[in-house]
């Protein structure tokens, strides 16, 4: 049987009270534990959690700097930053990416060939990031976008500062261009500096002065929520976010005269070639023309694949920088220098006469080196040999000098090595010598230097190749009678914020001292005779000039440039013609400009190249077109 207990109210109350005391104890303990924990988190560990919280809420948004503006020597803007429209795509808002890309193609906003590139670009970013994929839209594209906007969710039209070249294709090879930063670019620059910057100088001045033009990026701390999207706090909140303003890049003042450049380019009248004009007194490059040219804006805009292919597959090679990287046989343009080398080495005197029968043979050899004038020039002194460009005279002089002395003299004039112009990629050409031949060829029999090779060097042929910059620099050196300068494109850098100007001093090279200083005038007067003498090869361009021109024509055998396969008969014939060359400085007594011009397949230098030099001189010296 179960024992029957009776309820005892007093006992139950007492017990309840006891248990309640236990509860009070437990509640107190729990409350203390909670309070202690809160104290630990909010007082002891406060600083630690503040830091974590700060990291949570702030993301750094880059503020890209304004790229330095580029001015020509007259202060005309030739590269600037203008607001431009661009299309950006936010993946998470676009829904089906493939569908969106297909629609962009259908609406003519994206080329089919670029779909892969854009897809890769978009997929490499986070889903909520706005990825620019089409830069600098033109009005028509903006209109097309406006019409189809409702069919393109997640595709936004934004404005931002973009590079713009007001002169377009004029001087593009000197100026270069900016383009989208590639992985390759990133591997050789400080990535930090390019945070938020979309473009980088790819070629020319834009590339060479990249570090100055770029500026210093700033940043802004942006409130973000847990998903990394920008967020906003309630009104009156003080988020204490930092903003560091970007510092614009330095502006460049160029030596280039963009209007003179335009004159030079137009003088080519569609022909291929290059022209360089240098101020002999300081090395300033006023004209740097490589033709055909291209529009730098195309690259700044984010060139489409088809446009790029059109440029690279063009047989005229518009992207090839003929001034900087084209190496051509200098031809007869080096005859004044060769004459000077003869005088200085006592190999010949100005009045020594050489008979030109129309060809030259080395002693004991039957091989005939032909003069371009088959019937011969007859008896030639130095002045006449330069004026009429007699080959036989210089064949013989070269043989007398020997290759070593030619090499040494011409090397002093800057051949065989880059001129040191302040943009990258310059080639040095070849100033041949027996020593050079040993390094250039692998087999022993190829390495032998033959006397006949010396002979043709005498008229700027054979292995000798030079760039237009070298020719212009050597021409300027004749003009200053011995004072060479490194050519330069940038005169000064200006900090747009402070106005501080950093002048770049002309960079003189060691002066060339002659044993007989009078020899300068002998050579110069021979060159003046070229444009003014009765039988001067370029006497046509000297006519009507208000200043004296010291010049020399040249003709070079066609070399490697521009050789591709599929041409019709007529074109092949055209491309096998010789290159026409002309070098000159003016005024002859005290030159202000030294010019080197080459017209590819232009034929004889006097008729094709010399008029271009004259046009440049006229525009610069006489300020009047011919």
């Amino acid at each position: 049987m179960r024992r029957v207990r009776i309820k005892d109210e007093a006992l139950e109350q007492r017990m309840f009270f006891q248990r309640l005391l236990l509860a009070v104890a437990v509640v107190t303990l729990v409350a203390l534990a909670l309070l202690g924990r809160a104290f630990w988190l909010q007082v002891v560990q406060h600083a630690h959690y503040v830091e974590l919280s700060q990291g949570n809420r702030a993301r750094i948004e880059p503020l890209p700097p304004n790229r330095g503006v580029i001015y020509d020597r007259a202060g005309r803007v030739i590269a600037e930053n203008t607001p431009a429209y661009q299309l950006e795509l936010i993946r998470e808002q676009a829904g089906d990416l493939e569908d969106t890309l297909a629609r962009l193609v259908r609406f003519g906003l994206l080329e089919r060939a670029d779909v892969g590139r854009v897809r890769q670009l978009v997929l490499s970013r986070r889903t909520f990031e706005a990825v620019p994929f089409l830069l600098q839209l033109d009005d028509e594209e903006v209109a097309r976008y406006a019409v189809h906007r409702h069919e393109l969710p997640g595709v936004l039209l934004e404005t931002r500062m973009a590079r713009h070249y007001p002169y377009g294709a004029v001087g593009a090879h000197a100026l270069g261009y900016v383009g989208t930063i590639s992985e390759q670019d990133l591997s050789r620059v400080d990535r930090e500096r390019y945070f938020g910057t979309g473009v980088i100088g790819k070629t020319g001045i834009e590339s060479a002065y990249e570090a100055d033009l770029l500026g210093t990026g700033g940043y802004r701390e942006v409130l973000v929520n847990a998903e990394g999207r920008p967020a906003r706090l309630a009104e009156g909140a003080d988020p204490q976010l930092r903003t560091v303003e970007p510092q614009a890049g330095r502006d460049l003042r160029l030596t280039l005269d963009i209007e003179l450049q335009r004159v030079a380019e137009e003088a080519f009248a569609g022909r291929r070639g290059g022209a360089v004009a240098i101020d002999p007194t300081n090395g300033d490059v006023l004209v740097f023309a490589s033709l055909p040219t291209f529009d730098s804006n195309g690259f700044a805009r984010g060139i489409s694949r088809s446009d790029y292919l059109a440029l690279t597959e063009n047989p005229d090679q518009p992207l090839f920088n003929r001034v900087l990287r084209g190496t051509y046989p200098p031809g007869s343009t080096i005859k004044p220098l060769m004459a000077l080398a003869g005088l200085e080495n006592d190999a010949i005197l100005p009045d020594d006469h050489v008979y030109c029968p129309g060809s030259y043979s080395l002693p004991g050899s039957r091989h005939r080196f032909r003069d371009f004038k088959r019937e011969g020039h007859g008896s030639m002194d130095m002045q006449n040999a330069v004026m009429q460009s007699c080959d036989v005279y210089f064949y013989r002089l070269a043989h007398t000098l020997g290759i070593e002395r030619i090499h040494d003299s011409m090397s002093r004039m800057g051949f065989g090595e880059p001129t040191g112009i302040d943009i990258a990629g310059e080639r040095g050409g070849i100033m041949p010598s027996p020593a050079w031949k040993k390094t250039a060829f692998s087999t022993r029999e190829q390495q032998v230097w033959f006397p006949g090779e010396t002979v043709i060097v005498g008229i700027g042929q054979g292995y000798w190749t030079a760039t237009l910059l070298q020719l212009a620099k050597a021409t300027a050196l004749l003009g200053t009678r011995g004072q060479p300068y490194e050519p330069r494109l940038v005169r000064a850098l200006v900090d747009p914020a402070t106005g501080a100007i950093e002048d770049k001093k002309p960079r003189p090279l060691p002066r060339i001292e002659l044993k007989y200083p009078g020899n300068w005038e002998i050579i110069v007067s021979a060159m003046v005779a070229v444009t003014s003498g009765p039988r001067g090869t370029a006497q046509r361009i000297g006519r009507g000039a208000t200043y004296s021109i010291a010049g020399k024509t040249g003709t070079a055998q066609v070399f490697s440039v521009g050789q591709t396969e599929k041409y019709n008969e007529k074109e092949v014939a055209e491309r096998l013609r010789d290159h026409a060359l002309f070098i000159a400085f003016a005024p002859a007594e005290s030159p202000k400009l030294a010019v080197a011009v080459l017209v590819e397949n232009g034929g004889f230098g006097a008729s094709a190249a010399a008029p271009i030099a004259r046009a440049i001189f006229d525009a610069y010296l006489a300020k009047a077109p011919p």
Partner: protein
């Protein structure tokens, strides 16, 4: 009753109109002020935690209104009637739990909700009150301290609904329901040795319980021990809430200015993790104020329980008051990283209808039990 309202009313010469109204409505002025204060504090915080979602705040205001109305209504019920109702409430609750187990909607991966067409509610909420009522009802009829058999019976009363709720699975509510019943048992005079033994058994049961836990529940426990092990997964809640509280400091970042909360780093910021919003925006002072409010309510509740006239009323009132504190402690402990993450709202503050309304119903019952003592006074 030996002491109570009658003596007071005789000696007090001036009875304010407000006190008269409260007395007429059988409400306890002190407890009611505490509840109103904490509720207003909760709405104040929720306005910030809800962010742009104004409708969320207004719906909570509506629930607060409903809750207080329910409190007043339930306070009118005589205690013997409540006692009578207890077994029925318990049985109905059990049946509903069984129904949920069979046909309930799936909400957040767990079967908790019952859709009656007009209202959707969680039967487990009923059990938060029905279980302590049933336990108190059972013990009320028996001499206390309870015999071993009575203890077993009460444990059975507790265990059946708790098992059903845990199976949904809703471990948080199951533990709270179990706590409300066990509190009744302890208050009823469970011997000290049994209490200690129970604690020991509970400790020993942890490994066994581990065995029966769902994977996500185990994960929560593991995460508590080392939040950084899964910083963006299961540990995310704990890490972010601690950053929020810790970065708040003593004075807080200011109302509406908690970056963790406003920028959505803090998950469940208007519901289970609203405690962290308080800690971040109002600082240690805000947390202390809230804790003080809770302690005041619990203290008043316990005092009222002590004044009740019979075992049923005492046990149930004590359980309601103490369970309320368990809610607060479990939520705060969870948000501050002292306890595993279990889905327990912060009482009177968290957004969420049933929780607030159930709490108010409980306090209504508490007031009813307390008022009933005067009838025989």
């Amino acid at each position: 009753m030996i002491y109570g309202g009658l003596g007071d009313s005789r000696t007090r010469l001036t009875v304010t109109g407000m006190a008269r109204v409260l007395r007429a409505l059988r409400l306890d002025g002190m407890l009611l002020s505490g509840l109103i204060a904490v509720s207003l504090f909760g709405l104040f915080v929720l306005w910030s935690a809800a962010g742009d979602n104004n409708s969320l705040w207004f719906s909570q205001v509506a629930r607060v209104g409903i809750g207080f109305v329910l409190l007043v209504v339930l306070a009118q019920i005589p205690d013997h009637f409540l006692r009578m109702l207890s077994p029925a409430a318990y049985v109905v609750g059990l049946v509903l739990l069984a129904v949920v187990a069979l046909v309930g909607d799936i909400g957040k991966g767990a079967q908790r909700w019952l859709d009656l067409g007009v209202i959707r509610f969680q039967p487990s909420e009923i059990m938060k009150l029905a279980v302590p009522m049933m336990c108190a009802w059972y013990l009320h009829q028996r001499p206390l301290p309870p015999s071993l058999r009575d203890v077993g019976a009460v444990l059975l009363i507790i265990l059946v609904p708790v098992a059903l709720i845990a199976e949904q699975p809703d471990l948080g509510t199951a533990l709270l329901v179990a706590a409300s019943g066990i509190i009744v048992l302890v208050m009823g005079g469970l011997s000290w040795t049994s209490i200690l033994g129970g604690v020991a058994i509970f400790g020993a049961a942890i490994p066994v319980g581990w065995h029966f836990m769902h994977e996500y529940q185990r994960q929560r426990v593991l995460t508590l021990l080392d939040p950084q092990s899964d910083a963006l997964g299961a540990g995310y809640h704990i890490i972010q809430s601690q950053i929020a509280i810790g970065s708040g400091g003593v004075f807080g970042k200011g109302w509406m200015n908690g970056s963790q909360a406003q920028l959505e780093f803090l998950p469940e910021r208007s519901t289970d993790f609203i405690f962290a919003v308080i800690g971040e925006e109002l600082g240690l002072l805000g947390l202390m104020a809230l804790l003080a409010g809770y302690l005041f309510i619990v203290a008043r509740g316990m005092t009222m329980a002590l004044q009740c006239r019979d075992a049923f009323a005492r046990l149930l009132a004590g359980s309601i008051a103490l369970t309320f504190f368990v809610y607060a402690g479990v939520n705060a402990g969870m948000v501050m990283g002292l306890l595993p993450v279990v889905g327990v709202p912060l009482p009177l503050v968290s957004y969420g209808g049933t929780s607030f309304v159930t709490l108010m119903a409980g306090f209504g019952i508490l007031m009813a039990l307390h008022s009933s003592r005067k009838l025989v006074g």
